[in-house]
Amino acid sequence: MKLYDMPDARGHFGQYGGTFVAETLVEALDELRVMYEKYRHDPEFLAEFAYDLKHFVGRPSPIYHAKRLSDKVGGAQIYLKREDLNHTGAHKINNTIGQALLAKRMGKPRVIAETGAGQHGVATATIAARLGLECVVYMGSEDVKRQAPNVFRMKLLGATVVPVESGSKTLKDALNEAMRDWVTNVHNTFYIIGTVAGPHPYPMMVRDFQSVIGTEAKVQMMEMAGRQPDAVVACVGGGSNAMGIFYPYIDVPNVRLIGVEAAGHGLETGMHAAPLTANSPVGVLHGNRTYLMQDADGNIIETHSVSAGLDYPGVGPEHAWLKDIKRAEYVAITDDEAMAAFHNLCRTEGIIPALESSHALAYAEKLAKTMRKDEIVLVNLSGRGDKDINTVAKLANITL
C-alpha cells in the first residue's frame, strides 16, 4: 500500500495549497521553508519541542471515556481527546511552541500573529513571554470587542494587540494585516500562523506540530479500549485541530475521519462558514488555493458562526484534498445544534467545551446514535469553553 505523502515539494495537495503570495514575501517563505526542512527532523529541535509540550503544556493530554454522555445519546461509545486541558486551554499552544522555537533558531526576536477568538493570540503571547520574544497580535476590531478577556490576557502576557479596522474587521482582515507587517519587517520578524492555511510551508508545518494530538491518541486508544476508534470527529475552521488528530490516522484503515464545519444559521441561509460542506468554488486567498466562500466576482463574502474560531471563509488546503480523495468526510452543524451539545456536555460530564469543539460534539452525538454500543467515536475536544461564557450568557439573555 502506498503511504500518504503530502504535500509535494512546493506545498501542493493536488490542485490545492501552493504559494500564492506577492513577490515581496517569496524570499521570506523560502527562508522559512529551508529552515523548517532543516529542523523538522532534527533530534535536538524535536527534543526541545517535546520537552516544552510535556513540562509547559502538560502533555500528553488524556483521553476520557464520556460514559454518561454515551449512555444518554444511546449508541456508540464517545471518547474525548482532552486538548481543553492544555496550558492556555486549547490545542493552539502546540503549534505556537513549535513555530516560536523555530523563530528562535532563525534569530528572529519578534513574532507576530493573527487571531480571531483570541486563542491563537493568547497561545502566541504565552510562548513569546516564555522565550523572551517581542509579540504583536493582529485582531479584527469586531473581535476585540467580542473577546475582551482574551485581549486582556494577551496584554498581561506582554503582547501588543493591534485592532484591525479594515474590511469585515474579523479574522481574515487580521490575517491580511499580519501579512502586511511581515512584508515590512521580515528581517527581524517571524509570522506565527495559527492554522493549517496560508502559503507553503505553513499548512504542512502547522499540521506537523499539531499531529502530536493524533500520535498520542493512537497510543492512548489502544491502552483505553484495546483498539482504534471507528470514527474520529473534529471541528474545522481553518482546520488545525482536525489535521492534528486526522494526520496520524490517514493511513489507518477503517477509521472514518469526519470534519465538522460551522453551518451558522443553516447552509440554506448562506450565513455559515462551511466552504467544504457547501461545495464553495475553489479559489486563492491568504497564499493558498482551496475551497472559498466568495461571490461571482471572486470577492470573499462574510461568514457567520456563533463560534469565532470557525468564522473563516476558507479552509486549510489539506482538508480540501482529503475531501476530494474521499479520505475524510465533511459535515456542518448549526449554531443551535452546537449550543445544545455545549450544554449537554456541561451537564452530563462536567466539562465546559469551547463553542468550536461543541460543533464536533454535536455531530458525534448524531453519529453515535446510528452506531452500535461497542463501536467508538473519538472527538477532539479542541478547547475549553471558559472564553465563551459571555457569548453563551448573551444567547440565553443572562447578564453576568
Binding site: F20, T24, N299
Partner: protein
C-alpha cells in the same frame, strides 16, 4: 508588437521615461472611472494601471485598500472593470491599459475565460499580485497566446536566480517594487533602487518600471532618471480620496501635470 512594447520603444527613441498612474476601477464611484482615465491620458499618462477591486488586498496599504472598499460598495467586480476598459477604448485606442489585481477574481471566472474577455476588452497587460511565476504557468500561456503582456513584480528581496525565472515569463516590462512593505509606505532609497535596477538590466532587455513610494515631483524625477517607467499609485488614490465630485478631475490633472513635468525633466543616467 504589443501596445506596451510599442509605447516603450517610442519613448526610448525620444529619451523619455513612461509615467504610469494607478487608479482603482470604481473609485470613488464607477461613473467617474472612464473620465478619470481620459484625464490621466490628457495630462501625461503614457499607460494606465487600472486596479481590479478585491475584498482582501493583502499586498496593498490602507490607502489602496480603502479605494477597493469604496469601489466594492458599488459592486465593481472584474466584469464591470472590463466594461470600463471597453468604454475607454471608444475614445482612446492607443494608450496601453494594464490591469492590476489579485488571483481570486481571475480564478473565479477561469484563466481562459479571463484571457478571452480581457482580449475582447482590448486590455494590454495584466499584473496579478499573488501569482508568482511558479503558480501561473497556464495563465501566462493564455495571456501570451492573445498578445496580452503578463507583467511581474520584482522586489528588493528577489534573488538574481529568481529574477531570471521571472523575466523569462514576463513580457512588456517588469515592475520593480522599490520598497519592502506594502503600497503607500514611506522611505524611498534612490541609491539602492538605482543599484538594483542596474542589476536587473544585466539580466533582461525588458523595460524596468519602478513603483511603491513615489509620491511627489522630486521622487518621481529621481526615479525617472534610472527607470523606464515611473508608477504612481497611493499618491494618486489619496488625491482621489480627498476630492469631491466637482474638483476630482481637476485635482487629478494637477497632480499628473506636476509628475509629468518632473519625469520629463529627469536626466537619464
Amino acid at each position: 508588437m504589443s501596445r506596451i512594447q510599442a509605447t516603450f520603444k517610442t519613448l526610448k527613441q525620444q529619451g523619455k521615461t513612461a509615467l504610469i498612474p494607478y487608479i482603482t476601477a470604481g473609485d470613488p464611484h464607477p461613473k467617474h472611472t472612464v473620465d478619470l482615465m481620459h484625464t490621466l491620458v490628457k495630462n501625461g499618462a503614457d499607460m494606465i494601471e487600472l486596479g481590479i477591486p478585491f475584498s482582501d488586498p493583502m499586498a496593498d496599504g490602507p490607502v489602496i485598500q480603502r479605494a477597493s472598499e469604496r469601489a466594492l460598495v458599488h459592486k465593481v467586480g472584474l466584469t464591470a472593470v472590463l466594461e470600463m476598459v471597453k468604454a475607454f477604448r471608444q475614445m482612446d485606442q492607443t494608450t496601453p491599459i494594464i490591469l492590476m489585481g489579485y488571483a481570486n477574481p481571475i480564478e473565479a471566472i477561469g484563466a481562459v475565460n479571463f484571457a478571452d474577455r480581457a482580449k475582447s476588452a482590448d486590455v494590454d497587460g495584466v499584473i496579478t499580485v499573488d501569482y508568482p511565476p511558479e503558480e501561473c504557468g497556464e495563465f501566462v500561456k493564455e495571456l501570451r497566446a492573445r498578445d496580452i503582456d503578463p507583467v511581474f513584480l520584482l522586489s528588493p528581496t528577489t534573488e538574481p536566480s529568481r529574477v531570471d525565472l521571472i523575466v523569462n515569463q514576463a513580457s512588456g516590462f517588469v515592475y520593480y517594487v522599490s520598497l519592502k512593505g506594502v503600497t503607500g509606505a514611506a522611505n524611498l532609497d534612490i541609491a539602492e533602487v538605482s543599484q538594483r535596477v542596474a542589476g536587473i538590466r544585466q539580466q533582461t532587455n525588458l523595460p524596468v518600471g519602478v513603483g511603491f513610494g513615489i509620491r511627489d515631483a522630486s521622487t518621481a524625477k529621481a526615479t525617472a532618471a534610472i527607470a523606464d517607467a515611473v508608477v504612481v499609485g497611493s499618491r494618486m488614490v489619496q488625491v482621489i480620496e480627498a476630492s469631491n465630485n466637482e474638483n476630482l478631475l481637476s485635482n487629478v490633472a494637477t497632480l499628473m501635470q506636476e509628475l509629468k513635468t518632473a519625469v520629463d525633466a529627469a536626466v537619464k543616467r
